[in-house]
Amino acid sequence: MLEVSNLNAFYGDIQALWNICLRIHEGEIVTFVGSNGAGKSTIMKTIAGLVKPKDGTILFEGIRLDQLPAHKIVDLGISMVPEGRRLFPEMTVLENLEVGASTKAASRIRVSNINWTYELFPILKERSKQVAGTLSGGEQQMLAIGRALMAQPKLLLIDEMSLGLSPIVVDHILQVIQDVNRSKKLTIALVEQDVGLALSIADRGYIIEHGRIVVEGDTKLLQGDGRLMEAYLGVSLKKKTG
């Protein structure tokens, strides 16, 4: 579905991504894990068109994305939930959702998608007239995901989903994400600080360090390899099971 080859990206003079190659297959949940500043978010931003790569290619269903502006990439079927939610704080919940359906294709089925989002996150329906800036952190994350789903994506990128949220809220949101993944065959890529969490729901994982992919594989295998977990992610097995 998505194929990234030999991607190099810079922030100013500093190289943030080195020769990244990865694939995302239809219907799966993929996760990018790694320490702070490893480049996980940069990979997502590059796919979404917010960061332009210096070289390398990104192919999505056969179409090259790497030089397209962000709004065109949304048109092709990739939505991103940005780090820190990035809602429109002075607009209502409903308006945020409406703006999420800004592409031509999505605006045609806006009403049914809004109802669907309200089914996924009933709290948003209760809050629909409320200004987004006044929502709690968890509600904001639900709205950010709902807004991204409004664009009718085939691939959903979620950057730092769990950051700053309580475990109960995180569990609830993950549940919804997994349901959508199964029922709608929606492909999902997650960037997560919480390694245990990410590996537990994803099918495959990439471990990123210093802007490079160091390990990739089935999450079951990654989780099973204690030495790997400790070496790259600072997770000891004891802590994880305890």
Partner: protein, 295 residues
């Protein structure tokens, strides 16, 4: 007493016009953080377009408004494409604001001189059959041009409120205003939204020009006077608070009228500038807005 109600009536009419002539400035500033110091110059240009249509074809200035809007909208598109859009590549909003000030300052010279070439440096105004006539409402005299200006200001402000608040385009504008990057992630073509907003902003300046050339007069370098008024109104409304602009204009018009009534006409601009300074010191966020919450 009659003098005083007359003063209030005058303040309301002038105030509505103050609001109208600030809308375009407030839109560019609110949406894109462009400080368009050539705003007054575009007001004058809009006035000349209307003046030209009146002298050439005898077109009633108020009926020329749709044509002026069309012409000035195109001017706005060109201004954005040629001078303002490159500024979006600058790293910070502060850079963008400063640079837009310098660039539009340059535009003043170019457009001022072009207007001098086309229309000569003379002071011009539209003298139509209704100019200088007045009618009585509620025992108070209102000038016809003042009333027409008031009506136009209200219609334009309501239309803008409707466009920004209710239409899909308006939602795109507000989304891009609050977080341009997040807006692009929603599939919004932010550049196109900015382009059209610029066209609308300059068209709004043009409409104000029509009212000014019918009620007052224009000359190629006369834009500064209106720019200063627009600055005061924008600060009163609070930067980015477009819906508060016409109310803020009314407040300025009334305060000015009362000030002139008490201390005399030569101090008209002093009143406005004192208000400007007082607001900046005590309520820099404007009269209508709570201090922005930290996010």
């Amino acid at each position: 007493m009659e003098m005083f109600t007359q003063t209030i009536a005058y303040g309301i009419l002038v105030g509505a016009m103050y609001g109208l002539l600030t809308l375009g400035l407030g839109l560019l500033m609110g949406v894109m953080k462009f400080l368009n110091v050539a705003h007054g110059t575009f007001i004058v240009l809009g006035g000349y377009v209307s003046y030209w249509l009146f002298t050439r074809y005898g077109l009633n200035p108020y009926l020329s408004i749709p044509l002026v809007i069309a012409v000035m909208f195109l001017v706005g598109l060109v201004v954005y494409k040629v001078t303002l859009s490159p500024l979006l590549k600058l790293p910070s909003v502060g850079n963008r604001l400063n640079s837009s000030m310098l660039i539009t300052f340059g535009i003043i010279y170019v457009v001022d001189n072009l207007m001098t070439i086309f229309w000569k440096p003379d002071v011009r105004s539209i003298v139509a059959p209704f100019t200088g006539r007045s009618m009585e409402l509620f025992g108070t005299k209102f000038s016809i041009t003042g009333l027409c200006g008031f009506a136009v200001a209200i219609v334009v402000a309501v239309a803008l409120y409707f466009v920004l608040g209710r239409t899909q385009f308006g939602k795109h504008v507000r989304a891009a205003t609050q977080d341009a990057e997040a807006a692009s992630l929603c599939g919004i073509n932010v550049h196109r939204t900015y382009l059209i907003s610029s066209g609308i902003a300059i068209a709004l300046a043009g409409v104000a020009g029509v009212i000014i050339v019918s009620s007052y007069s224009i000359s190629p370098n006369g834009g500064l006077r209106w720019l200063l008024v627009a600055f005061v109104v924008m600060i009163l409304a609070g930067e980015g608070n477009i819906n508060a602009i016409v109310p803020a204009g009314l407040i300025l018009g009334l305060l000015e009228a009362v000030g002139v009534f008490i201390i005399g006409a030569p101090y008209r601009q002093v009143v406005a500038l004192v208000i400007f300074i007082v607001i900046l010191i005590f309520r820099p966020q404007g009269l209508f807005r709570k201090r922005r919450l930290a996010t």
